[in-house]
Amino acid sequence: MSSLSLHPPSTNIGNKDNGTVSRYSMQDFLSEDTKVEIVPAFDCPTLSFISCDYGPFIAGMSVPVPLWLAVELRKQFRCRITPPPWLCESYLTEVLNYEKDPMNETFFTSSEHPSNPDIQLTLPYHYQSIARVLIDVCPGDIERVKSINVILQDIDFLRNSKSVNILKRLSLSMDGTEGEEVQRNFNMRSGWKGMEVQEFKGVTVKMLEGVRGGDGEGRGEGRGGRGAGNDGRKEGRRKFRNERRREEDGMGGDETPTAKPGRKPTGTPTIDEDGLEVAQIEEGEELEEPTRQGAQRLRRFR
């Protein structure tokens, strides 16, 4: 039946049997894959793990390892972590000044490496998680840790309020108050980082689902593409949806199924013998009903 999907996605992933975990904790977990440079205080040949080999470790020589390994070794005092190039006061101050400026409506993208002007440096996707872990575990290895902490919190706050403004501007453009350029430029890839994605994706998806309206009308508009504005909106939504799908794949797809804005079945609704409207599903169509009952019921009509 055509309607908005009204189930709110929770902030926890996983079902009750396996234990739920906060999405934000999951982002912390995923961030631990990023590589950092460490200077080990021990000698060791190459260590082989399931995913990759790390090493060989030679005392005094810098070696790249994933964050989880670096933190473990640092906790045992077997290495010194070199802070990543973006975790320095000058770069973060530059980011902060960009975000503070009310003229800049988009997020900070990239600028030159502070010491090496040839390299472009961007804030990594999981910058909040990585910064938090590094500041917790090895504050001594980072220069001017306290001021970096303060700057990072300011950056978080500013980006947060900017995100809400972006959503508001998107809504302004969709209800006709502002122009439609916002829709075309609305691209999550160039803006939001890890934690912000988790915070705002639920709301954004619900917004765009609401604009689609009922089944027949919304989809018809999207496919027909009656104007440049519609295409832009479709593009933004598709990019957003792909972004979300990629995110969810990264988490192992344990998310509660109702959170996904899957495609609704096509075909004109028909009436079956109970007098109820039943959507016809064509072969190969991705189904929205994730529950077992729903899947069983829909399988009958294939």
Binding site: S22, M195, G275
Partner: protein, 247 residues
């Protein structure tokens, strides 16, 4: 979304006024209880032509649109005058008073009307008028949803408030309330993360219960190319011990 969705079921129970176009046998129970129909030919079992009844949305496909036994009119909160008011500024209205499923029922009505087969009879103006009204209604509904009401909701839900928001949320329809809850939960979760840090991530139930799995002697030798999950864990543990010894 779907057959078992309780919100869908409740939404489809919204009522619209319909007028019977023909005499309907055995449908007299649809007559409202306090009906003031004093026609001499009021039957006790048959619903007479031009009698007004109140029909739920789920009956509309087969009573009004596919078969044209009843003529449906849009409810008052979808009428032209209210649409104009919504266009002017929607954020001050208590839409939940009008209908708790304002948007969903509106979208459903519009899709039913637009997908109903057009009558071949040229005298059937009512349906064409209804179709025109519904196209206008659809655009107004979408505009209202994404408009100033949404911006106000975003403000309220995404701004880390500790206070009681029911003065605002009591004016929201169910769909908007869902959006509000998502935003509020997300921002609360973020605040919690900032304060407390990461929560402990539990081992998945599949891995936890592997020891309780009954493995027969034949199974162990089975797939030589693919290692059992338990063996992976053992090797991992051995490697970890080896690393620690070396270090």
């Amino acid at each position: 979304m779907g057959y078992y969705d309780i919100d869908d079921i409740l939404m489809e129970d919204e009522h619209v006024t319909a007028i019977a176009r023909i005499d309907c046998a055995s449908l007299a129970f649809l007559r409202p209880y306090n009906s003031t129909n004093t026609a001499a030919s009021t039957s006790s079992t048959t619903l007479m032509t031009n009698e007004k009844v109140s029909l739920p949305l789920w009956t509309l496909p087969f009573l009004c649109f596919d078969s044209r036994f009843f003529d449906v009119t849009l409810p008052k909160h979808f009428s032209d005058s209210f649409r104009k008011k919504l266009d002017a500024g929607g954020d001050s209205f208590n839409l939940r008073l009008k209908s708790p499923y304002f948007y969903s029922s509106g979208f459903l009505l519009c899709s039913l009307v637009s997908s109903s087969p057009s009558s071949r009879r040229s005298s059937d103006n009512r349906l064409t008028l209804l179709k025109k009204e519904c196209t206008l209604l659809l655009s107004v509904l979408k505009k209202t949803f994404i408009g100033s009401r949404l911006r106000k909701t975003l403000d309220w839900s995404l701004s880390f408030r500790d206070e009681d928001c029911t003065s605002y949320t009591s004016t929201l329809t169910t769909e908007e309330l869902t959006l509000f809850e998502i935003g509020a939960r997300a921002s609360l979760g973020y605040q919690e993360w900032k304060r407390k840090g990461s929560r402990f991530i539990q081992v998945s139930g599949i891995v936890k219960s592997k020891d309780r799995r009954v493995v027969s002697p034949e199974d162990k030798g089975g797939d030589k190319g693919v290692k059992q999950m338990g063996e992976f864990e053992e090797e991992e543990g051995k490697k970890r011990r080896r690393i620690e010894e070396r270090l």
